[in-house]
Symmetry: D2
Subunit: 282 residues, 4 copies
């Protein structure tokens, strides 16, 4: 029980703060004093008495994320190597499809987590690279999106063949996990969580006949920003944004560093939870 535990909390949320304090107390009951991510620590005075750590620099073997999907995605993006950390995810608030622990059960799941009673699920991520400075790994999606509705022209290549040519608002390249996020809103299919694939979903293409394409998970893609395209943005998991210019080529392949998440009941009622989330927007 001498492992270190880290805590990352969604900022500016009374609900997240309350849930985080319950996580802290549950850990303390097991003799564990968690270290709190410095950004979260500055947000909440109630957490400032605890020791801090820096998500981007310090290697902590076990981290508990409290918040919504964005909090998890940001944490994964900031960790120097997510494959060296096990993350437990606690949902605070209504939205947060990727986080499987609900607030009412926090104490029980913290006990399970501390005692190793969970299923460790390794999630494949995709790696996007335009240049050495403009690159990163994603759990959900790489979104190539227009700037101010100006037409984007992209060509997608796979195994040397041009498989999609898009004139429109852009393209989403999504993992299985991301298939129920941005890609779904843009007309993509739902991928069963037990199946690993890559989903290409074009964004409002002038080519009305285009449909989403599903590729094997180990595919290597090249997306060319055509010379006659307007500039656009590459958005990684909704967190990091880079500018792309005509002539740029984005390479997409598997990320060597997978995400490792402790799951307690992820597989149960997947579709029920998915539809509930869809209906929560009604």
């Amino acid at each position: 029980m001498d492992e270190e535990y880290g805590l990352v909390v969604k900022p500016d949320s009374i609900i997240a703060e309350r849930v985080a304090l319950r996580v802290v107390r549950a850990l303390e009951r097991h003799g564990i004093t968690p270290r709190v991510d410095e950004y979260s620590r500055r947000s909440y005075r109630s957490l400032s008495r605890l020791p801090g750590f820096n998500v981007k620099r310090d290697l902590i073997p076990k981290i508990i994320v409290v918040g919504g999907d964005g909090t998890l995605l940001r944490t994964l993006m900031e960790l120097p190597d997510p494959s060296k950390t096990v993350i437990m995810t606690v949902r605070a608030g209504k939205k947060g499809f990727l986080l499987d622990v609900e607030s009412y059960e926090v104490e029980d799941r913290v006990e399970d987590f501390v005692n190793g009673r969970y299923k460790l699920v390794e999630y494949s991520r995709l790696h996007a690279k335009a240049t050495a400075e403009r690159e990163g790994c994603v759990l959900n999606d790489i979104a190539l999106v227009m700037d101010r509705a100006k037409l984007v022209r992209l060509s997608v290549y796979h195994r040397g063949e041009r498989i999609m040519g898009i004139d429109g608002d852009g393209l989403i390249i999504s993992t299985t996990v991301g298939s129920t996020a941005y890609s779904l809103s843009a007309g993509g299919p739902i991928i069963d969580p037990s199946l690993e694939v890559i989903v290409l979903t074009p964004l409002n293409p002038v080519q009305l006949y285009l449909r989403p394409i599903i590729l094997p998970p180990d595919s290597r893609l090249e997306v060319e920003v055509r010379q006659d395209s307007n500039p656009l943005y590459m958005v990684l998991d909704g967190q990091k944004t880079y500018r792309l210019e005509p002539g740029d080529i984005v390479t997409v392949d598997s990320c060597p560093r997978k995400a490792r998440i402790a799951r307690f009941k992820w597989w149960e009622n997947y579709y029920e939870r998915l539809y509930s989330r869809i209906f929560s927007y009604l």
Copy 2:
């Protein structure tokens, strides 16, 4: 024949320049020396010998536009009052669905135009207004679009009722003419040119059940940027862009100044021309 004729030409296009020179010669054959929009005049040395005019300031009763849809839309947006000008539209290049005169027939149509042998079609436009500084009329569409894929939250009100609530990439509010432009790519229907309506097409909404809504042409709409929305852009006919912030309300109603376009065969084979344009993107 003492009326003044203006000429507006798409910049940086050898094809447009050639077609424009044929228009000039055809007019000169009828004893008319056209005045050339100053911006076009600076772009092409071959046109610089002709007298100039300023689209934004000078009232010219008859204008010939040579280029693509963008050239026409920009001209209509710059004219102080398009309802005081008759525009003849000449397509230079492959794309340009709104321009009905093709380059091969330029001489004949210029003769028709000079002799009043055309059908004057008045096109309703929509008027969008966020504040006094952020407003304008459109022939095609008002696009309310996200910035860098950040979720936009909008509520649309009509006759006091909330008719659409969108969490997504935004909303397109389109005229009949615009129904075959951006709205079509985003999943909107094709509106027959003889029917006047307003089309609301949501952009990649999280609310998967949302569908385009078709409203009467004299509808007055209010689009509220919700307090929990990210900032976004209002793009008018793809030409003018304004920033919108949470709390902004965009009012949409009829533009009092219609567009007046001389049509020679607009009604003929509308659908054949439409499908040809769609297929030109294959």
Copy 3:
């Protein structure tokens, strides 16, 4: 108050029977003994004491329909001339978007109906005709649908132009009212109830670029079943079904006999009621 009132009730429904008995009592309180459609009369012993009438033959100036959308659509289809009857519509059960009176308010609305306190709304209908024996008017839609998934090939003509060529499961031709029924499920837009149009929605076409087309309400269409098509069915308002063969031509235009419905709050909260109905299927 010497006008005759007729009653048509959805068969085999305890809920409909109860609501119908409340309608009868409310009418009797105003000294009116309604005549009950013979088919409804045979279905419910509790209604058999009342005098009967035949919807298909007897002209009754005022009819109260109790049930769901199907009950109303069937009644309109059976009436020899719906333009000579005013129909009040009472919803019994959860589904029934076209029926505006809910069961809790039956007594108040019957009083309003008897005293002429309602808005008489005239609904345009479409008329479909393949041959003299295969024709009829619809409030909602004309569905041309495949038999056992065998490919149907149709060409749609409007003003002498071919506006749509479909290889697929068929075509829905819908009124404004019908836009929220079958057409909506097939990808058609929502038409505001204050706008009169015709909606063409292709059914699963091989031509992936096809989109719904919206036409003026007075359009005259011809739908040709191509010689290389498989046979199909023409379904009118989900009630009457005719077989169509290759070579058949279906003519669609306005039905001279409109439907006349007494509305009490039809315009209020149209979209709220529409979305509620969509969500009732979740």
Copy 4:
């Protein structure tokens, strides 16, 4: 070279007959006299001099199919065990996406086939079973479709969970190969040919939020025809049709007998060929 070769030809097609005669001559040049399927033999007098065989009963190790997709699908459905036969597929006519040999190269490919110079591709098939009499294997899809536009109500179960509830025209359950057939027209995605999955595509569901679901290839599904559904049809590969009634349960899993097809250039330019086929319907 003492193996037996069979020939199956699309009936009533002058083009198919010509191509078939070239196949016969090419085989004869290698000292092979093919046996011709009795149905094809009766269709074409020019083939009647050759020995016959019965696709449904006789085991022939190598069969050449000449025609369109339907000819191949029918042959696979009729063979007692397709896993014991290698099929070479020759396209006669414009449509026929599944057949990779084009008529201009028939002689060269027959020589390759006879000499074993091809890639043997094994295609997974799906097996559908309602009862012992109503079952079969498909290469493309199992379509559960309405009769005369009457609402169908289905529940789909996977791993004990209800993953889709459809009120609408039905459901398509498709293989990877079938993803570009009926499923594509109904809104399904394109599956890369190197990825094995099952695609569920709902047909015009009232539940507007439904999207296609992609499942692993070894999934076992149960589709329940709800008691309140209308009767419907189960159509296997567009070839065999069975009636389903409320209460029926269709089980879908892997077919133990795969299809074995000799491919010469199947992988090359898959997307180019796919888009060409889509555009051939313009």
